[in-house]
């Protein structure tokens, strides 16, 4: 997470379209910056089967041609019948345009009307680049918190805090009508009841440290298998900052967001764990451009604060006290590179270096 950073977000259409804003323009988060038409769904009708014909005869019976508009249930082709009686009819399954007529398969394809697609700026800021026919790049300064897993897509709202400390859970009782359309900052986790209440009162997004695996499963209505999310329609966007289980949000993350309560936040729950990692995020834009930017620390050093990301100390913080060079054997008998650290409780532990995350230099 970063307290103040220069952020750029690319806003791109899925297909070529029209960009509605220009370079240098100031945009708000919910402003439409580009739009296009997605080609409609294609419906197929096997006309020759309906009429009992040979595919090569289809054009002799078609009442419509490629490019003609049609309404749902409109007559496309009709057999001659017996003395004008007992005609068979083939009717369009949908409103659209005739895309193709095949004299090999006897199939007629009807393309439904196009669907409009719009993209917003997502964050309030300045358009620094226009991608012709595709979209824009929006730049802003603000706080960025990257989560570890999210569900649901983009959401916006005023940031409100509903817990006293990052180690407290988000309770259903703390959510009411005043949370409608808001981005709610919780603490360690949210129970199922709290999530359902949040949906009920119309919360835009919930940001918490963790969640129990069974709770997420119950909330989503399915087991999370492949971690590619963002399209779920759950009634709100959920961002986890730490992981699975009742894990307190780190103090720093909590403080960054709490300090910005009342301001507008842009949230995206979309997550992709592999082949092009995408992490969920919360962005709170600043009105004034800041001059100080964080320099991320690189490499572990004695004195660093780390978070432990594996059993048996999952979620706990510790201070690095030594970084032995030699490989050491751990409980599993694997020989790995380790570090020595002191937990907040004072307990001294030795851990694989792979099982910590740097929190603070």
């Amino acid at each position: 997470m970063t307290e103040r950073a220069l952020l750029r977000r690319e806003r791109r259409l899925p297909l070529a379209g029209t960009v509605h804003v220009g370079q240098g323009e100031t945009v708000s988060a919910e402003q439409v910056v580009a739009s296009t038409q997605l080609p409609g769904d294609v419906q197929a009708l096997n006309v020759v089967q309906r009429l009992g014909l040979d595919p090569r005869e289809i054009r002799d019976y078609m009442l419509k041609s490629e490019g003609d508009p049609v309404e749902a249930d409109e007559l496309l082709a009709e057999s001659k019948g017996l003395f004008g009686l007992f005609k068979s009819a083939a009717r369009s399954p949908a409103r659209g345009t005739i895309e193709s007529v095949s004299d090999v398969t006897g199939q007629v394809l009807i393309r439904e009307p196009p669907q409009p697609v719009e993209i917003t700026a997502y964050v309030g800021g300045t358009v620094v680049e226009v991608l012709p026919d595709e979209g824009v790049v929006v730049e802003c300064t603000g706080a960025l918190v990257q989560g570890i897993l999210g569900v649901g897509g983009e959401a916006h709202g005023q940031l409100v805090v509903r817990v006293d400390a990052p180690g407290h859970p988000l309770l259903a009782a703390s959510l009411d009508e005043s949370c409608r359309g808001k981005v709610v900052l919780g603490g360690s986790h949210a129970e199922l009841e709290a999530l359902r209440r949040a949906v009920e009162v119309g919360v835009a997004a919930v940001v918490v440290g963790g969640i129990e695996d069974e709770v997420l499963e119950a909330f989503m209505g399915r087991s999370l298998g492949v971690a590619i999310t963002g399209e779920e329609q759950l009634g709100l966007t959920l961002v986890l900052t730490e992981g699975f289980g009742p894990v307190p949000m780190t103090q720093r993350t909590f403080d960054i967001l709490k300090a910005r309560q009342g301001e507008r936040a842009s949230v995206n729950g979309a997550t992709q764990i592999r082949a092009g990692v995408i992490r969920p995020e919360v962005i709170v834009v600043e009105e004034v451009r800041g001059a100080e930017f964080e320099v991320p620390a690189t490499g572990l050093v004695v004195g660093h604060t780390v978070r432990l990301i594996r059993q048996p100390y999952f979620g706990q913080l510790a201070k690095v006290t030594a970084l032995p060079e030699e490989l050491r054997e751990i409980e599993t008998e694997a020989k790995v590179r380790v570090l020595e650290a002191e937990l907040e409780t004072g307990e001294k532990v030795t851990l694989p270096r792979a099982n910590v995350e740097l929190i603070q230099a």
């Binding site: 087991s223 992981g243 699975f244 694997a334």
Partner: protein
């Protein structure tokens, strides 16, 4: 290519996370692995150039071997005065590998053959669309639009048969107008490998919208597959289109002395070479972070499947979703403190580089691995089928109704060698754990040798096998494989404690009872003639009660007698299950007490 008998060979594999470089040298004892270097793969931002990771991996190999291999950013060639290499080869699965959609007329016939063609070429098959797959045309069109394949393989119809179904598929593809993954600007390659009579109408419908390539029918008659032309075309197009557009690959292609192979295709080539050389049926499995590949050669027929969403880190959550908690926990003693495995498994998914620290965590992870292996193998068996039985089809409508495909080619009794690869197997703290995961996941029958890949160099050896089989074989045997031993698993069931099998070896006699496992010491490189006498309810390959004499091969674990029965069924009573697991672990010395 530099020389027929290279003295030094350098080979890299660009994986999705790491790039590995191996250095092979010709010594007095033949070709041997010298060193292995590794560096993160650099396909994604901020580098977006695969050659960076390649050079970094080679640089590490340089350091470890004290042999200069690079001159700036050039690979030094040939090998001279203690510097450089004679040969440089590479494989790649970076950027998620080759992702394809295949299409055929009948799901269990031409569509399935198309799937085998694609998988054998090293691709991940995103979806199989068939005329009779019960989806409506608009659903198929929508699905094709959602997918972003690197290429499409279209097949259907035997030569001289009806053309309408395969042409209909072409119409659906044309209407969907699929967009390739790697950018809006280039046309999607479509390979047509179906009924030759339909070539012209296919051309009419697809030549303008796609990069259409036409090859021999991959199922010219129902009783015979002809997959090689389609496989070759897939690999050529992979290089030309997919790789050439991926960042830095044009440069990498220029560096290599032979075509870059997709990693799974290279591993498959190696497995086939091993099977042919050893004259036995082989199964190889590579269980990675995101996918599990299973390769098999039975009766000379090679098959490969990739379970694209079963793996030990990125995909570990999906193993839980598909196998279910109970199936995973059945491999964990009830008295072992493991906490909420749902949370642990999902935390591993979102922090894939973390490793098990406690014994409980290790046991759970290895339990998940068993299920990933089992599920991947089920998928493999259903695809690795023979074509017998198709002669029964009389008319096209019979074919449409047919739900039964051929019988699986996989015959576990006839399996000679089972090779495992991938971190959870290769880096298990005790080799006994790897042996047990392989046995529990695959349930080999009869007499089966077991081995693991020491450091995952099978892809590099696979691409080398095409150029210099001798070098590939020597390094494979001496440096790549860690022989675990031989598993003796009689097929059948009887009550616990009943006689199962007697093993006579080196003047000693071992009686193993039902429900037990036993290890008989026989070290790596050692062999011994053994007499095996299953009791009358059990079959070790010579029928029930049929005794046999075999030369058994040892390994770091030894001869593992698995008298738990086949199919393997764990006790349902929790106390008995826990006691059984602990007994088996003790017998194999699998875990610290």
């Amino acid at each position: 290519m530099t020389g027929d008998d290279p003295r030094v060979i350098l080979a890299t594999d660009c994986g999705s996370t790491t790039t590995k470089a191996i250095l092979i040298e010709r010594t007095q004892q033949g070709y041997r692995l010298r060193v292995r270097g590794e560096a993160p793969t650099t396909v994604e931002a901020p580098f977006e150039d695969v050659t960076r990771g390649v050079l970094n991996a080679i640089a590490e190999a340089e350091e470890l071997s004290q042999r200069q291999l690079l001159d700036g950013e050039n690979i030094l060639r040939p090998a001279r005065d203690g510097r450089g290499t004679d040969l440089y080869l590479s494989t790649s699965s970076a950027g998620g590998g080759l992702q394809m959609m295949v299409s055929g007329v009948v799901l269990t016939m031409t569509a399935e053959s198309a799937e085998r063609a694609a998988l054998g070429a090293g691709a991940i098959v995103m979806d199989v669309i068939a005329s009779n797959d019960r989806r409506l045309p608009h659903q198929k069109i929508k699905r094709i639009r959602q997918l972003r394949p690197d290429m499409i393989l279209l097949s259907g119809g035997i030569d001289g048969g009806t053309t309408s179904h395969v042409v209909e598929l072409a119409e659906i593809i044309a209407a969907a107008n699929p967009r390739p993954r790697l950018g809006q600007k280039f046309r999607l390659p479509v390979i047509y490998a179906g009924n030759t009579d339909a070539r012209e109408p296919i051309r009419e419908r697809l030549a303008d919208k796609t990069e259409l390539h036409i090859v021999e029918n991959l199922r010219p008659v129902l009783e015979r597959e002809n997959l090689q032309p389609a496989r070759r075309e897939i690999q050529n197009l992979f290089l030309e289109h997919v790789m050439a557009h991926a960042p830095g690959y044009a440069r990498l292609i220029a560096w290599t002395d032979a075509e870059i192979m997709p990693t799974p295709a290279a591993v498959g080539a190696l497995i086939q070479m091993v099977a042919e050389e050893q004259g036995m049926n082989v199964i190889g499995v590579d269980i990675g972070g995101a996918t599990t590949d299973v390769f098999s050669v039975f009766g000379g027929t090679f098959n490969r499947t990739v379970s694209a969403n079963l793996g030990m880190s990125y995909s570990i959550s999906n193993v839980l979703a598909e196998a279910g908690r109970d199936n995973i926990l059945r491999w964990v003693p009830a008295d072992l403190e493991v906490g909420k495995i749902g949370n642990h498994i999902r935390n591993k998914m979102i922090r894939p580089t973390s490793i098990p620290q406690t014994l409980g965590d290790l046991v759970v992870e290895q339990a998940v691995a068993r299920e990933a292996l089992r599920l991947s193998f089920v998928q493999h068996k259903s695809l690795a089928v023979g074509l017998s039985g198709v002669q029964q089809a009389r008319t096209i409508s019979d074919v449409f109704e047919q739900t039964l495909t051929g019988e699986t080619l996989v015959d576990m009794m006839a399996l000679g060698l089972l090779v495992g690869s991938g971190g959870v197997l290769s880096h298990a703290p005790r080799r006994q754990q790897a042996a047990l995961m392989l046995i529990d996941g695959f349930q080999p029958e009869g007499v089966t040798m077991l081995a693991v890949d020491s450091i995952f160099m099978m892809p590099q050896l696979g691409v080398l096998a095409a150029i210099h089989p001798q070098a590939a074989t020597e390094v494979f045997r001496r440096d790549c494989l860690v022989p675990l031993g031989t598993c003796l698993a009689p097929v059948g069931r009887d009550r616990p404690g009943a006689a199962c099998v007697r093993v006579e070896l080196r003047g000693q006699s071992f009686e193993v009872r039902c429900g037990e496992m036993r290890v008989i010491e026989l070290g790596p490189g050692e062999t011994a003639r053994a007499r095996l006498e299953p009791s009358r309810r059990f079959d070790l390959g010579q029928g029930r009660g049929g005794a046999l004499e075999r030369e058994l091969t040892g390994g770091v674990v030894g001869i593992i007698v698995d008298a738990r029965g086949r199919p393997l069924a764990l006790p349902t009573d929790e106390a008995q299950r826990t006691a059984s697991l602990r007994r088996w672990w003790r017998a194999l010395r699998a875990y610290p007490e």
